[in-house]
C-alpha cells in the first residue's frame, strides 16, 4: 500500500473556504484550517453586533480553525458582543469535542 500516483500535490484550484454574508449571518462552506483561518479575522473586523457563523457546510476544521474562531470570540467579547456557532456540522462537533472545547462557544442548533 503506497501513495504512488498521488505524490504530485500542486496547490488545488478551488477555493477551500467560501464565506457568504447575509442577514447578519456569515455562512461558511468548505475547509476552515490554518491556510484559510485568516479569512475569518477579515470578517470579524467589519462586524459590530454578534458574529453569527453558520457552520453547517464546514467539511473540515482543525485546531487552527477553532483557534481562529476563538480569536474572533475574544474580539467580539471585547466590544460587548459574542460569537455564535450556528448548526455546526458533524466534523465541527467532533473537533470541538476532541479539542476539549465543547463549553467554549455559544452554539445554536
Amino acid at each position: 500500500l503506497t501513495l504512488s500516483g498521488v505524490v504530485d500535490i500542486s496547490p488545488m484550484e478551488q477555493l477551500p473556504l467560501e464565506i457568504v454574508a447575509g442577514d447578519g449571518v456569515f455562512t461558511l462552506r468548505g475547509e476552515l484550517d490554518m491556510a484559510t483561518a485568516d479569512r475569518l479575522s477579515e470578517i470579524v473586523e467589519g462586524t459590530t453586533g454578534n458574529l453569527v457563523l453558520d457552520l453547517e457546510g464546514i467539511t473540515f476544521i482543525n485546531s487552527s480553525g477553532l483557534q481562529a474562531v476563538l480569536t474572533a470570540q475574544k474580539a467580539a467579547r471585547a466590544r460587548g458582543a459574542d460569537v455564535v456557532l450556528r448548526r455546526p456540522s458533524r466534523v465541527v462537533h467532533r473537533v470541538l469535542e476532541l479539542a476539549s472545547m465543547t463549553e467554549t462557544f455559544v452554539i445554536e442548533e
Binding site: I9, M12, A35, N62, L98, S100
Partner: protein, 313 residues
Amino acid sequence: VTTNPEPDGFRHLAFPYDDEGRFLSTSLAFIRGGLSVNERVLVMVPAAKIDSIRSALGDDAGTVDYVDVSEVGRNPARILPEWSAFAAEANEEGRGLRGIAEPMTVERSAAALAECLLHELLVNTAFDSGPAWELLCPIDRGALGAPVVEQHHHVHPFVSSARGVEPNPSYVGDLSPFEWLPDPLPPPATGAGQVEFDLSTLSALRASVDAFGSRAGLSPERSADLVLAVDELACNSVLHGTSGGVFRGWRENDTVMCEVTSESTFTDPMVGRRRPSVDQHQGRGLWVVNQLCDLVQIRSSDGTSVVRVEMRA
C-alpha cells in the same frame, strides 16, 4: 507494602512481581492502607486485574475508582491526563490520594512499551513538585522479560519489594523524554508513500491521506480521523518548522502507520498530555492527535522532529 508514614512528596514506585498472588496481596495492602486514612484510590490496570482486585476487596470494592488501562491507555500518552484529573479532584476534595498503575503488559507492541516508559518518566515530571501521594506501578517480571523490566525500574525513583519501599539508586533522574530515549524509530517500511507539503498544499495533503487511509483499510470515519491527525501534525510543522515537512504512510500488519518529519525541535516534554483549558489559544494540536491515535511517538533531536502515529485498521 511498608511505606514511609510521612512521605514528604510524590512517590512513584516500581513494583516488579513474579506471580499473581504477590500482585494481589501487595495491591490489596496498598489500597487498604489508603482507605484506612480516607484517601481516594484509583486502580488503573487491565480489566481482568480490576475484577480480581474488586472481588478480593469485598465490601470495600465500591470505595475505590477503577480504570481499564488497556482501554483508556491504549495510547499511553492518554494516561497522564487521567492521573492529573484524579489528583486535582482529590485535592479539591481536600483528600489524600494514591493509585496503582500497570500500563505495561505483554499484549503491547515494542513501540507501545517504549511509549509506556516515556509516560512513566513524565509521571515524575508531572507530579514531583506537587503534593505528596503514592503511585504503585506493578510489572509482571516473568511475562515482560528482563530488558523491559529493567527499563521500567530505571524510570521509577522508588522501588517496592518484600523489604518495603526504598529509594532507587539506578533511577535515571528528571530527564526529558527527548534526552532519555535515544533509540531512533525503526525506518518506515520499504515502499512507504511519501508526500512533501507546505502551507499551500495542506488541503491536497489531506486528500492524499484520505485516499491512503481508505486503501489501507480504514473505515471512512477512522480515515477522517487519520486525516485530522496528520493535518494537525502538518500544521505544527508549518508553524514550528522551516515552513513544511514530509508525510510518509505505510501499513504494518493490521496497523496503518503515518509519520510527519520536519526541521523543528520539540522542547515541551509534556506536549499533548495536558488537557487544554476551555479558552486556551494554542497547544491543542498534539492533544487532539493523542485522542485520535492508538499510538503516538514523538522524537526530536538535532533540529529534526518526527511524529509517528498508528491507527488500527
